[in-house]
């Protein structure tokens, strides 16, 4: 499976890369909204988005755009935004899962294992 991870924090990108090196799936990274459209194509099976990009909550807008372009694959939000309002916004943006930072690799794994690929 091919995963697209949209994140601007260096450490988190590093962590995700290091983890995906241990599994069979492919990971590509986009660090800004612009990069997303360059790297996104029909071969991407699942998208993980950090909502807080470059000082703004751009993840919502991105999710909305993806959904409106008929992207029906799983959308996972990985974010440190944890308030009730944020959960509401995430729900409204039509994400399927939210993983709260900080998380452990094992927790991420467990989530991904619940998917049939």
């Amino acid at each position: 499976m091919k995963f697209l991870y949209i994140e601007d924090e260096r450490n988190d990108i590093d962590l995700m890369n290091r983890y995906f090196e241990t599994v069979e799936h492919e990971l590509i990274i986009a660090t800004s909204l612009g990069e997303v459209w360059d790297k996104l194509d029909s071969s991407v099976d699942l998208i993980m988005i950090d909502i807080f990009l470059h000082g703004e909550k751009s993840g919502y807008e991105l999710a909305h755009q993806l959904r409106s372009k008929s992207y029906n694959q799983p959308l996972i939000a990985i974010t440190a935004l944890t308030t009730t309002r944020d959960i509401e916004d995430i729900r409204e943006a039509d994400f399927d899962v939210v993983i709260h930072k900080p998380f452990t690799i094992r927790e991420l794994e467990k989530t991904l294992q619940q998917y049939v690929f």
């Binding site: 290091r18 944890t82 399927d96 899962v97 939210v98 993983i99 900080p102 452990t104 094992r106 619940q114």
Partner: protein, 652 residues
Amino acid sequence: MFNRKLFDSLLFKISFRVILVEILILTIVGTLYINRFFAEIDQRLEDSVELPSQLVESGLVRLVSLSDTNALRSLVGDEVQELILSNSRGQILYSLHPEYRQLDVYNISFLESNWFSEQNPGSITEWSSNETGNIIYNVSRFSGIMQDEFYLYVQSDTSTVELQKRNILIVFFLGSLATFISTLAIVVLFFQRTVFGRLNATINTLQNVEQGDLRARIENINSHDEIARLQTSVNNMIHRLQSVFATLEQRIEDRTQEAEEARQQAEQANEAKSIFLSNMSHELRTPLNTVIAFSSSMLTVPDMYNGKSLDPIFAKDVKTIWMNGQYLLGLINDILDLSKIEAGKLTLNRRAVDLVDTFNGVFSTAVGLLQDKPIQLKPEYPDKLPPIWADPLRIRQILLNLMSNGVKYTESGSVTLAANIENNRLVISVADTGAGIPESMLDSIFDRFTQVKMEHQTKGTGLGLDISQRLCQMHDSKLEIRSVEGEGSTFSFSLPLATDEQINAEEQEINELLEIGSLTEEGILDPTSYYNIVIIARSSSARITIRNIFEEENHNVFESVDIDESVELAGAIIPDFIVVDLGKGDSEMAIVEALKSNEETQNIPIVALGTKDMSEDTQYVMDLYLKKPIHGKRILKQITKLFAEQSLEGLN
């Protein structure tokens, strides 16, 4: 007009009394004067009746002259009705009415012998009445030259006098009446104008003021008498009232505005605080992710490090880093929760839930807290509970807090999580066999940052019990504690059973967003039956994943790989449904078709998972097609929905 008000009015009272006094005076004065007048009139009449006899007595007139009627008449006047001279034998010698002369007998009572005596006066005047009416007469006795007696009778009728008297009385009464009326008129008009009119104007103005019109004033104060002064004072008083009110109103307006501004400021400050807190939370969590994720990976995912495990000497310190990261995270979460609760912004997401899942989740997490302590974790709750009205996430939070406290403060023994129904409520308790809490501290234990001092103190945030207590309160419950020093402590609270309405509401569509993080976990409601399922999948990882999805729900899972095996297996078991993972090739589709053609197995529902977009015609073969990647829970949900629809159709 003739009502109470009239009789209450001062004008009436004054007029009434004036009239009364007038009546009194007029009566007294009138009576006195009228008596005098009447007496005079009577006297005059008497005098006129006595005149002839006096004239004779005094010698001014001789008895002989009485025979001349004309002279007689001019002497006595017209009012004399009768004048008779008679002898002592009753013979009428003279009379004003000559026809009487012929009569011998004349009924003259004065001829009674004892009427006149030596002592009696020679003249008597009497008021009397006869057939014609009321009369007055005088009888006088004279002695003649030859010692014989003569009687002179003069009679006058009183009708004139009576008329006179009556006229006097009439005049008097009319005059009195006129007096009363004019007095009344004068009193009323004068008083009305000078006193009562102005008093009423004053009263009206004051009544207007009473009703709230502070602009009312008494008009036309055109003099300086007492009433004018009263009116001026009243006007001044109203003016004062008006300005006082205006000042007060202004002040109230000002204060209200101030209060409103203060309220807005407070709200803005509150809002700013919320925003600050959530920003802070985000800012703190982001670097914490690096700490926690990397330290846990070093400990638990050697694959990320070329398969190398950490040397124990490093592992120990890395673990410390990890645990402190967890502690920091716990603190951030607790602070956020507490401030949310205090600001009234934490809302419960209460549902009708079977809390056994929550208990199980808490239990398995608590196991991880044991840290090699010789403590046993004991579950004492049934396998199934009736739906409870509560927020399962928050209940988990409370129980985790209580369980971790229990583990923390117990060196050896057990921590028991118990739940059972009592009096229509679910009573939940966490009991430990730790050191217990001294009675003196029982009250303050819920205070923030208060922790019982212990020898081997492990970290806690100190906010946990505060938050747990408040969360209980938000569930309309109360966290209670029983503790015996040296034996242990039990924390307990109770929750209400869900009502039928709440249960019905729960069965509607639930939003499927899953939250996974270090401290929270939530699942979708699972189907309530246990199924027999056959899984057909080429890829072993897919098989394992799919198997796990169903086995987590305690269903019975069987596997097969190729066509013949599958048909045989399915024919033998007749499972409730079959799950087929369509790989990249078409071989799995062949299996599906084979199953649907086989008599024994054609009615078994087939759920297919595939990566392609399936067209309508190819889709008809299977009962349910789900596109990958798909989350396990969503598969379960879709299958549940499929069965629900099928049973509805079956009913139809």
